[in-house]
Symmetry: C2
Subunit: 131 residues, 2 copies
Amino acid sequence: MPTIRKRSRKRDAILQCLSGTTTHPTAEWIYNELKPDIPDLSLATVYRNLAMFKQAGQIESVGVFGGLEHFDWRTEPHAHLVCRCCGAVIDAEGIELPSALITQLEETSGVRVDSCRITLQGLCPACTQQA
Amino acid sequence: MPTIRKRSRKRDAILQCLSGTTTHPTAEWIYNELKPDIPDLSLATVYRNLAMFKQAGQIESVGVFGGLEHFDWRTEPHAHLVCRCCGAVIDAEGIELPSALITQLEETSGVRVDSCRITLQGLCPACTQQA
DNA sequence: TCTGTAATTGAGAATGATTCCTATTTTGAG
DNA sequence: CTCAAAATAGGAATCATTCTCAATTACAGA
């Protein structure tokens, strides 16, 4: 598992692309976004850098939906909603677990909790209106 | 998307295998579990039936961890913990969102919420002790 | 119980996201 | 400016999952 040691124009562009959108994109989405400006960008580079950013804690994986891993540059805990109609992944504000529940779980079951991922399934605002 | 219309010995065995464990297994785990007793079982049949059970609401997907989709026969809402050390997926009792938060989200953001998946990352009891 | 048809299955090919390989290019400390 | 280490391109390889289709099986009706 390689670590980040140097900068590169492409590495910066990938992180900037991710932090410039709220769409929680996949590796391929980022690749297609950057390809016009960086014609010799390789898809492998996008995957490689996303993995390194993730390991470094600079970005997070939102999860795998429809076989595609989605990423998020916001690393503070927050929930997401995946639209079952259009597949969009959007932030869900204000959704969080009472921390007392986590503490209680750790004390009663002997597990250790590092982080929590909350994913709602439903319809995004646009698809809710059409329904 | 095919629907379940008939029974079969293999189909029953797959569901029974899943409901007889608390390990939230993958398709391949179930296949390996059943193969000795059903030598002509095909991995494709396991995948096919899991997909049909899922669509029928008889089982649920817990999520994709390490590239492998894990399934659960318990369909009532409950959270899970994925061990970052051994990869085990275990039930996390008592972890649930206050329903008022969901209601509030629906009213303020215009989304529709069908269900919720809560996944904790951390250490299972066994790995917590070794740490 | 027998029959016919539609559902189910096995086995392997196909798919598609992700990772690996390695020769080449780039970065950055000194 | 130099040079070793890090990063990259591009295409092959991997691996979970899905598809194909001929053969098998379930089961409603006779």
